[in-house]
Amino acid sequence: MAGKTLYDKLWNDHLVKQRDDGSALIYIDRQLLHEVTSPQAFEGLRIAGRKPWRLDANLATPDHNVPTTDRARGIDGIVDPVSRIQVETLDRNCDEFGILEFKILDQRQGIVHVIGPEQGATLPGMSIVCGDSHTSTHGAFGCLAHGIGTSEVEHVLATQCLVQQKMKNMLVKVSGKLGAGVTGKDVVLAIIGKIGTAGGTGYAIEFGGEAIQGLSMEGRMTICNMSIEAGARVGMVAVDDTTIAYVRDRPFSPTGEAWDAAVDYWRTLHSDDDAAFDKVVELNGADIQPQVSWGTSPEMVAGIDGHVPDPAKETDPIKREGIVRALKYMGLAPNQAITDIKLDRVFIGSCTNSRIEDLREAAAVVKGRKVSPSLKQAMVVPGSGLVKAQAEQEGLDRIFIEAGLEWRDPGCSMCLAMNADKLGQGEHCASTSNRNFEGRQGFGGRTHLVSPAMAAAAAVSGHFVDVRELTH
């Protein structure tokens, strides 16, 4: 019999009931909640007269709607009344039901997918859900992490279980070593470019291979974060020393004997050597260049030395139509060099790239340089209050400010522009976020997805450049 994949193991460990019809009840160890996808779930509980099944499994924070300036004013600082109501509603629901929440003025507040790992609320082997598709981020810890909809948020609150069907197993293996200046973000964009935005639909993806093993937890989180952009709800990396070192001594992490027992278990969280995958995709790490998305779907990417495609050369009519539409929206010409794309704004932040290592990488590039005068704005939005504090301790804030970047308070910010931070119509933005859909960062806005280092290089140049040419 073939061995088990990491996904198989996590699935088996959380299986409460396998139903005859192929669906299963999966136990959920942790639910993260935020203000956008939870109000209707709490309302549903109230209407049905139900109570949360297990309070200590839940952790909440507002992130999508919070302003990234003038935070000392707390909720009163939220100018948009509708946004304010949503944040107030989360506070009220958490207070009423007794759920732990890091409120807007709490230093531990931040983007859900940043604070979970930061607190040790994300631990290897857990099953984790959140009403947010980027919950796949937590898979970097060898977790079974699913993004879910609001009805499922309510379902997990009420039953501590999720109804799931087992997915198929996919291995994405990135062999060899990454070149200098090539980051987790470039790896995941290259993967999506290769398999497409529906390539992972129906699969749980495990990312493995030497290049992945060589990444820090931040890099692995960036990769798992964007599994959903490859169509997969679940992305994972096996547990190793890097994982265990990261979770040690976090506020929610076990200590003493419980820690030792936990580590023994965590060490089993990898695919067996003889495990069978339904699909295997291989990339050579050394071939991956810094990536830039040119279109309106995350699969529309090119290396920094590449060009915008020419629709005339595309033979598939549906794809051709997609390219034509994307180029029109993005205001780009066929065959244009990626380095010729001029920028209006730069955004460094989001649950994909707002952790301390991301900020360090960006700071290293802008240090001693100035933001190009052709830009309207360049901003850095740390992922949490604690990331912000650490960055300030390391002096990164000074580096950014001296270079002319804005240093903001934590939240989702311009990743989806639900708060005041957004693009104007037709503006091009180098963004470290995860989605370049039409209108994502503001009505008519044009998003280019890149790594923090590439965003920083673009900020000081006014257009895309190969960050490797800017080494100090």
Partner: protein, 215 residues
Amino acid sequence: MRAFTQHRGLVAPMDRSNVDTDMIIPKQFLKSIKRTGFGPNLFDELRYLDEGKPDQDCSQRPVNPDFVLNQDRYKNASVLLARSNFGCGSSREHAPWALDDYGFRVIIAPSFADIFYNNCFKNGLLPIVLDVKVVDQLFREAEVEEGYQLAVDLEAKTVTTPSGESFGFDVDDFRRHCLLNGLDDIGVTLEDADLIKSYEDSRRKTAPWLFGAGH
């Protein structure tokens, strides 16, 4: 939840692949704390020429005459015919809420994004996967024939065209059962409360660090 057994309705063909949830319902409308009222803002950026704001009277806004749902012949459509990877992007359930609020009951496409597909069933909306060639054929027929309707039978798992041609589709038994009977998922799961408790008890012994941490 509202049950779904059979439905016959006018078909609107939306000829575009990778329709994402930002397109289905843009973020500014996610600030609502309700489940209803999203219909007027369904496909907001495609449907109107100006930038939509929450709580606005949409009947006064300039519409994009080229967008399929703005054409008279597709008024009151309840079956959306779509292309591959429909509903990709975020997990927002506001997307099916908006489709439902607008009046759609069925969405037919060659493929759907996972989370969106799942969210539909929780809201009495039926997503149907048909072979890409069949979808092509339905697109052709719907565009040629004004008033083109499809009949969907969830019990029999069929989609039938006006000429009587029938196509079978697959749907998993649990989802079908819940949808046919309008069952509340939570109620169904709570029937297994004892099983959940005993799983939890054994887990507390084998992995105690998962309980009560940090509280």
